[in-house]
Assembly symmetry: C2
Homo-oligomer: 341 residues x 2
């Protein structure tokens, strides 16, 4: 028994269906709305099609679709200093009343007095003392609380925004796009793992078990049914440079097929990704946008991009020129007109 | 327009549907077929219902359904010695031609001559030398190859089975059952992470990124587009005892709601799990089955279960009496008749 619609009715139903389907199709076709139709977006889309199309010779099964992202300078801003360092400075000030000795001891004195010159003079060793004093010597729970409280209250000195609103809208869209194509998205970054976990799930949709970073040795303590994990001052893993492929291997145990960074500290992660078999995607965010964000690369003390930029250019990796490839930077920004390149 | 079936036809269709549906429903109701209807199975099922029923006050959202399992003695057998140690002994023999000095150096000499007395005398220090010589000083790729080759060829001295067939059928069913209820299943074990990854995905359905174990420091090396990761002899993390909650926190970053072990080395992982808020499941496999597997606990040098057994009994954790709770042990065994308890 078959029911045949009259021809006029057929046309009406077809129009209705198209009206319903076309906007949805357009959306599905535009998963990277804050990216201009330029070379960066094209290379991303071409790669994703190649590895997800079951008919493609470059097809990668979903469990092997591992994508790794640096955090500072790749998913959120990192100027005028790593945001985690701003947290550490604020924590020194917050905890100063319980540490009267800091008033007279460097590098703490420099932080309390906003003495940039003395802080610079304290160098890397001074910074490590500040990180140690604010990141260790407490339980994992207390550290998580401190990080979350700071993230909810602190504002960036230049933009006045909460730090978690200085994340890159185009990169959020890239994370979403990859996940919609059955990629598993990881952070692999020099930041403290626990600090990044305090916001990564809420802000990037990246759950704690997909956040890999620098870690300190911890110590399990137990008494009468009460358990805690104490953060000690001993560094367990420095997740920078060669530490990135090392932690990827130790924790994920699979080689990524896509890696995104923005500095020389990401070079080894990109090399490790590139050296695998099959099609791979290696990307660098190039900070070229002094107007909407910051412009810096080869000579910057933060997020220095020099060797990795040379290697990317030599080997044809995707270098994302922020000024021309991104229609907006932060989620709160109005998108600029589409620029077809 | 509605079509009404004649009553006799209705009954026929109903019977047909019931005939099709009932066996399927019975299967769905029996996810732990190799477990007797005893206290262990009941406590598992009651826990899973409590945390997965959206109407339950103990409901846990899927992303937080983290389940952790020890490996040796919990997911597969561990007698007469940890299987990974059997691998190490075989590797010493395989590599001996390239190490003529081993013929005259302990503890290697003892392994080559099957000299159990000398091996015992070499103690823990001797074992560490054997593990070092067979687990480090090669690339991650070469180690993975060696482990996979051994697993495919070696046979257990007592059962004659491949080691990967000496996994526990009831635990495989438990892993499947938990995953069907949106749990994420992890291994957290004293074994070398890379050794366990060589079979965990294929044998347990646990992917590399959900295998946590003991690790050595690795070193990324790169030249002219060729990248490798070298395994060094320096221990990075000993994933036993307090090392288990420490690695769970470092790598997963969430507290498990279910933990399963079989020895005192799992006690801290069980304590950490138990000390969380809400409903929790803590389980121990108790090796009571000399006939089908092995019987050992308080005085065993391998898989010693003493303090954890006391604490489990005191605190009402689930102790799985292998002899009475499991209808079969290995996948190749015929199931014993259902024992309703």
């Amino acid at each position: 028994m078959t029911y045949r619609m009259p021809p006029t009715r057929q046309r009406f139903v077809l129009t209705l269906l198209l009206g319903l389907l076309l906007p949805a199709m357009a959306l599905a076709d535009a998963p990277l709305a804050s990216w201009n139709d330029g070379p960066a977006k094209s290379s991303i889309v071409a790669f994703v099609h190649a590895v997800t199309d079951p008919g493609s010779k470059h097809f990668v099964p979903p469990p092997e679709r591992i994508a790794v992202f640096d955090n500072d300078g790749t998913l959120w801003s990192e100027q005028p200093a790593y945001f985690e360092l701003m947290f550490a400075f604020d924590e020194i000030k917050r905890n100063a009343p319980r540490h009267p000795e800091w008033k007279t001891t460097q590098p703490f004195k420099a932080v309390l007095e906003n003495d940039h010159k003395a802080l610079s003079a304290a160098g890397m060793n001074g910074l490590l003392k500040i990180v140690g004093a604010t990141h260790t010597g407490m339980t994992t729970e207390a550290f998580d609380d401190a990080a979350k409280t700071w993230l909810s209250q602190a504002r960036h000195p230049k933009t006045g925004k909460p730090y978690t609103e200085m994340i890159y809208q185009p990169m959020l869209e890239l994370l979403d796009y990859l996940r919609s194509q059955d990629f598993k998205t990881y952070i692999v970054s020099g930041g403290d793992t626990a600090f990044m976990r305090a916001f990564a799930d809420r802000v990037y949709g990246i759950p704690p078990e997909q956040v890999i970073g620098t870690t300190f040795v911890t110590a399990f303590q137990y008494q009468d049914g009460h358990a805690l994990i104490q953060r000690t001052a001993k560094l367990a893993h420095n997740d920078d440079g060669p530490g990135k492929p090392e932690s990827i291997d130790a924790i994920i145990g699979r080689r990524p097929i896509l890696a995104f960074g923005n500095s020389d500290g990401d070079l080894q992660m990109l090399q490790w990704t590139a050296a695998g078999t099959g099609q791979r995607f290696m990307g660098l965010v190039h900070h070229t946008d002094a107007k909407r964000e910051w412009a810096y690369d080869r000579s910057s003390s933060i997020g220095k991009l020099d060797k990795a930029l040379d290697e990317a250019n030599q080997r044809g990796w995707t270098v994302v020129d922020m000024a021309t490839q991104w229609r907006r930077v932060y989620p709160g920004d109005a998108p600029e007109p589409e620029l077809v390149q």
